[in-house]
Amino acid sequence: MKPRFFFLLILPSFVVLISFMIFPMIYSWYLSFHDYNLYTPNRPMVFTGFDNFRQTLSDPIFYSSLSNTLIMMLFGLSIEFIIGFSFASILYSRLKQGRLSSFFRTIFMTPIALAPVVVGWLWRFMYWPKLGLIDLLTEAMGLRSLGWLTDPAIALVSVTIVDIWEWTPFVFLILLSGFQALPEAPLEAAEVEGASKIQKMRYVVLPLMRPVIIIALIFRSIQLVKFFDQVYALTHGGPGFSTYTISYYLYQIGLFRFEIGLASAASQLVNIIVIILVLIMIRMLRAGLQ
């Protein structure tokens, strides 16, 4: 078949992506060098050079939002992976392929199936003083209620808990399918050699699972950079700026204050961070495959 045929097949998708993904991103670079506010759309754009970038890099809230996202990645993802991995290994060794396993899969699918914005509202109700499930439970146990979403010291923890609830099942499901795809031979060999359960985990299972683990890690990290709907429903970034994630920060500047130029500059910086993050992880993946 001629190459021309394949080019024609690709053309429609290429045009759509160019017009609604690539052109906007180039336009965003253009905007980031200009002073442009949608409150005054008729005022001509003024070229301001690197001013927007300078302003973003000297904004303490930019850094605190960035560090909030990184904190969620460090703690949230660690917990998600520890729980997800233990669950997958238990379920794999106990249940194998049976009907129960598909029961668990359906159950664990619900948090992922729920729209992220609904997850946010749901947990806002759960955390609500006096009426929420969590307060009712702490009350029933005779404990003092915490200001889950109103105390700046713990609001970020509460938001991270929501993320853990929503996405641990995702990590679990991916790792479970990784377990189910493990080849039998190396495991049997290890057993014959008399390896203990922990040794088998450390020297056979983990290296074999490495690609799957890193794929899950890449997906989750990108999702956390995109983390917006839940914060919007839960806290609006508050109290103060304590639960500003990087996506919520960009929303505040670009679509609340309508400082499009400034927000574009900040979002280009975020894009660069994402690219670096993903490149590091892909390098890890490649190293694991060799």
Partner: protein, 276 residues
């Protein structure tokens, strides 16, 4: 002694599974209970009281007095049409990527994927300015194109993966039969219809749950379900009962569809990176 320690391990393991299941399920149960309680106010953790006060009033109010039917129509229309476009042009590109080996195409395929790394909030800023200029804010068309673009790489990668599972000899036979290359491509489609169905369902559900683009790019006419749900807060405080009912209403089709999708679930969740 040996027996005892394995008993303890399995006890601990089953206990972990039980606690984990309760932890995952209880917020969902809470959502359902709230949707069945007057105004969504559960004042006491007593099963008796909760069960005796169950009511369908929230659902009645939701369907009779809110604009949910308009939101639903918008969601179905926008996601239905964009899914249709995505799956058709996605399968075309996926076929080309799976059959034509060249460095350029290999790079292009990864370039498609890399657009998925852009956080939606970074894309929504310029898209918003663009949509204002095109006069497409608060129209179905605007969201249809946005969802088509954001979900396209997924459909391309998924269908490329499914086409790769079909041996080349089959289309060679079609070509020998006297098909044009395009006819051969069309006759390949039924061979991956399961995969295409899974791809469409996933694409549809991603739009069904999408909030940010819909929130920014609609005002009134084109509001979809996730945005409509967040509108309840503007009436009198938060209408918890109705919001919970709407949450349940949005969840049901997703659960049903993902239960049907079991076979392709992991593949879909990971862009085809993890195959089962």
């Amino acid at each position: 002694m040996m027996l005892k320690s394995t008993h303890i391990t399995s006890f601990v393991e089953y206990l972990t599974l039980l606690i984990g299941t309760i932890w995952v399920v209880s917020p969902i149960v809470w959502l359902i209970l709230q949707s069945l309680t007057l105004r969504g106010y559960i004042l006491e953790l007593s099963l008796e009281k909760i069960l005796s006060s169950l009511t369908f009033q929230n659902y009645a109010l939701l369907f009779l007095e809110s604009s949910i039917l308009r939101y639903l129509r918008n969601s179905l229309l926008i996601n239905g049409l964009s899914t249709l476009i995505v799956v058709i042009i996605g399968a075309m590109a996926g076929y080309a990527f799976s059959r034509y080996q060249s460095k350029l195409f290999e790079n292009l395929k990864f370039w498609y994927l890399s657009t998925q790394m852009i956080p939606p909030i970074c894309a929504v800023l310029p898209v918003f300015v663009m949509m204002i200029a095109l006069d497409l804010v608060d129209t179905h068309q605007g969201l249809i194109w946005v969802y088509t673009a954001t979900n396209l790489p997924f459909a391309v990668w998924m269908s490329a993966g499914f086409f790769e599972g079909i041996p080349k000899e089959i289309e060679e036979a079609f070509l020998v039969d006297g098909c044009t290359p395009f006819q051969a491509f069309l006759r390949m489609l039924p061979l991956i219809k399961g995969g295409l169905a899974a791809t469409s369902v996933f694409t549809f559900l991603m739009g069904w749950n999408e909030f940010l683009f819909a929130f920014i790019l609609t005002r009134f006419e084109a509001i979809t379900l996730p945005v409509g749900l967040s509108q309840f807060k503007t009436i009198v405080g938060l209408e918890w009962g109705e919001m919970a009912a709407m949450g349940v209403f949005m969840l049901v089709p997703v659960i049903v569809l993902s239960a049907i999708l079991q076979k392709h679930l992991i593949r879909g969740l990971t862009f085809g990176a993890v195959k089962e």
